[in-house]
């Protein structure tokens, strides 16, 4: 079907019409209107079933009072200069849809967008039901009516005066320039219900309202800025963020409703945080990933299994298992057989110490399942292959993150060969800074060799991450870059975990760094991690249940102990306020409190509970 001028196809009855089997609508740069005849009042369907559209330049489609149904696969060529406009009750319907649309979509209708048929699993897939071009919403809402767990992905900017709403499904946003102004709402109920913001800016920085019920909210990696507005959850799961923001920090957070809010990015809340119901799970704490001047790289290993070693090749795993300094990466422990399915990892930074881009050859030769990441991207790999794999790449001046992971699987032991072996003996990882791209091992420098892992001149060739404040003398936390901010841990200025609610610190990979909390109060549970109170441990009422921490509790120097309602405590009764795996270090000072009402805070004999007692009137304290 070809347009020779702007043209229309109009329905006189609401019976569905199919345009299918790889046929194409050639628009010839014109506008096709799919509409109703003058007497039709119902909404007919024009089905594109395995069929294509070629705009042939400046082609457009207007869907006027009709349902455009996209079924199975098809090819819509063109780009965001082509528009498809839904108006006057027009609507879109996806069924088993895997067609990718790069056009600009203009939603100017109050009808719903229907999602049905095959679907991707949860938020992980974007092959089906995705709109890859910009979307502009001119009506109050772009609403989806869908079956359970049906979802929609927006790859490009969503803008306009309207918002979006989905029922019993999920939405995800990838663009960092979204600017829609209406409410983004989602009512969940199915297992995959939720909204995912994949990048900062996908949650618009404006006064838009986020309203979620019985569903999850995912915030992908990044630094999110939120303007002063209301973000709330009507019931069930999730999040409310209120107040303004400064420097990407949330000023307050209130989590209520049953279920879990899973925040995948580190964040800091400078105001009050209340977890009143359900669970707030925060991103696992990460140590500061600022490369230091300290030479060498980190190494570590983890006992693995056939079931998990592939997952352990993911970039995030090094955070948990790189726990020892490697000054000699030689031979990947070839002297002794590497246990089957133990994963070894090396992590650090390799430096181009010149002022210009350099061409380096990176080579990999490992007998085992290995992955080499450069600057966070999977660069080379092996799987039971001892032959050398090498490639030239441009290395810009400065530091570049390297991450090498090796799992011998069950290939017979050695991950690499001897220090003086040939390439066929699995030499491991090597770099030729002159870009000769050969298989001559003598052209390469092996980080495996201790003497070559350190390069003099104006700095070390390999350096490792800082692991504590004293390990990065170049700067302070305040001067960290955005990337470094990303690596900081979540922190709360004023945290209350109410009875029955849970804060999950997500330290399941062996990370021991405590969560920093300014003021801590409540009677709920903190799991999977430790807590360090930097300002005040606060007790609200005498009858409250203890706050339970399934980790260690410690206090910064100068931390204090406070009580909101001292009148609620009966003198002479010992109250247990906090129970932890262990309470470490000095207890907080309560000088001001006890100056008014003398008392005592102490640890129990097993060191796991902190108790408070106000003395009975007339009690004598004998100081020996």
């Amino acid at each position: 079907m070809t347009l020779t001028a702007d043209a229309s196809i109009r329905f006189r009855m609401s019976t569905r019409a199919d345009f299918h089997y790889y046929r194409c609508i050639y628009l010839g740069g014109h506008t096709l209107t799919l509409g109703r005849g003058k007497t039709l009042t119902s909404n007919p369907t024009f089905c594109m079933n395995t069929s294509n559209v070629d705009p042939q330049g400046d082609g457009h489609i207007i869907v006027d009072g009709v349902t455009l149904h996209s079924q199975t696969s098809g090819a819509w060529s063109g780009d965001d200069s082509n528009t498809i406009t839904f108006q006057n009750g027009g609507r879109m319907s996806f069924y088993n849809n895997s067609t990718t649309f790069n056009w600009t979509l203009i939603w100017n209708t109050t009808e719903t967008w229907i999602l049905s048929g095959s679907k991707d699993s949860g938020f992980t897939g974007t092959n089906r039901n995705n709109w890859a071009g910009p979307v502009r919403i001119d009506t109050p809402s772009l609403s989806f009516s869908s079956g359970a767990n049906q979802g929609m992905t927006f790859k490009e900017t969503v803008s306009g005066t309207g918002g979006l709403y989905a029922n019993n499904g999920w939405l995800q946003f990838y663009s960092n320039t979204n600017s829609y102004e209406g409410t983004l709402g989602l009512t969940g109920g199915s297992s995959d219900s939720g909204i995912a913001f994949r990048t900062p800016g996908s949650l618009p920085i404006n006064d838009t309202l986020l309203a979620v019920t019985n569903a999850r909210v995912f915030l992908g990696p990044g630094k999110y800025e939120l303007r002063a507005t209301d973000y709330y959850v009507k019931a069930g799961t999730n999040i409310t963020v209120t107040g303004g923001t400064s420097q990407g920090l949330w000023t307050s957070l209130r989590k209520f409703g049953a279920g879990m809010l899973d925040v995948q990015s580190a964040f800091a809340i400078t105001g009050k945080t209340e977890i009143t119901e359900g669970t707030l799970r925060v991103a696992a704490p990460r140590d500061i990933t600022v490369y230091s001047v300290a030479p060498g790289i980190w190494q570590g290993s983890v006992h693995s299994s056939n079931a998990t070693f592939v997952a352990e090749m993911d970039t995030d795993w090094y955070l948990a298992i790189s726990n020892e300094v490697c000054t000699c990466m030689e031979q990947l422990r070839s002297a002794t057989a590497m246990p089957a399915y133990d994963t070894y990892t090396w992590h650090g930074y390799v430096w181009n110490r010149t002022a210009t881009n350099e061409t380096w050859t990176l080579a990999l030769s490992i007998c085992g399942y290995s992955r080499l990441y450069l600057d966070g991207s999977w660069f080379r790999s092996t799987d039971d292959n001892g032959s050398v794999s090498h490639v030239n790449t441009t290395i810009t001046p400065g530091a570049h993150e390297i991450l090498l992971k090796v799992n011998p699987r069950n290939y017979g032991g050695n991950g690499s060969g001897k220090n003086v072996a040939t390439w066929t003996d699995n030499m491991g990882f090597a770099i030729d800074r002159y870009g000769r791209n050969t298989t001559n091992y003598w052209d390469y420098v092996f980080p495996a060799n201790e003497s070559s892992s350190i390069d003099g001149g104006n700095g070390y060739w390999f350096t490792r991450d800082a692991r504590d404040v004293g390990d990065f003398p170049e700067g302070t936390l305040a001067a960290l870059s955005d990337d470094a901010f990303m690596a900081t841990t979540t922190s709360f200025k004023d945290l209350t975990v109410s009875a029955g609610a849970t804060l999950d610190l997500n330290c399941t990979n062996g990370v021991t760094k405590p969560l920093q909390v300014g003021k801590l109060s409540g009677a709920g549970t903190i799991t999977n991690g430790s807590v360090k109170v930097t300002e005040t441990l606060n007790v609200a009422a005498g009858a409250a249940a203890p706050l339970t921490i399934s980790g260690k509790l410690s206090f910064a120097e100068g931390a204090t102990f406070s009580v909101d309602e001292p009148q609620s405590f009966t003198r002479g009764v010992i109250y247990t306020n906090v129970v932890a795996e262990a309470i470490e270090g000095d207890l907080p000072a309560a000088t001001a409190l006890f100056a008014v009402a003398p008392g005592k805070i102490s640890k129990t004999e097993d060191g796991r509970a902190l108790t408070l007692m106000f003395f009975r009137p007339g009690t004598s304290v004998i100081v020996r």
Binding site: T2, L3, T4, S8, G37
Partner: protein, 161 residues
């Protein structure tokens, strides 16, 4: 030179065989169209033919023009109006109605339109599918305009899908 002359003669002969038949009528409405088989058509020059005569004389590459502002219903015999080099052209303000498979030329299957004529709808004209049975059609279709009285260049009026 001889070959070139022969090709020229051959091309001229082929051109000469392709005929344009014009059905000019202001009669018929959408609800009560006139039947194409009852109409007299004008040939290229000043000659006329009945519809049956046109179909009997049909040659690949012929063009059927429907014009005059009326509304004309196709018929089953149009299945013999075949070949992709042939054309059905619907002029301004005129409606051409088809109701069954084959009334817009032959149909092979969903993926092949190698024997169907081209259907060209001019601005203001309407090709109307008005049917009570499930049907498919696959001619190369060229559309322009919003049809007669806003009916659409292609009007879909089916009671079944």
């Amino acid at each position: 030179m001889r070959k070139s002359i022969c090709l020229t003669i051959l091309a001229a002969a082929m051109t000469a065989r392709a005929t344009t038949y014009t059905l000019h009528t202001a009669d018929g409405t959408y609800d009560s169209p006139v039947a194409i088989e009852d109409q007299t058509l004008t040939t290229d020059g000043s000659g006329t033919k009945t519809f049956a005569e046109m179909m009997a004389a049909f040659t690949a590459g012929d063009t059927l023009v429907i014009t005059g502002g009326g509304c004309v219903a196709s018929c089953d015999a149009m299945v013999n109006f075949t070949n992709v080099t042939s054309t059905i052209r619907i002029e301004t303000n005129t409606v051409f109605v088809f109701a069954k498979q084959g009334q817009l030329g032959p149909y092979i299957n969903d993926v092949s339109d190698t024997i169907a004529p081209t259907v060209r709808v001019m601005p203001g004209g309407t090709l109307a599918m008005k049917t009570t049975e499930r049907m498919r059609f696959s001619p190369p279709l060229y559309l322009a305009g919003d049809g007669k009285d806003g009916m659409g260049a292609l009007s879909l009026d089916s009671s079944v899908n």
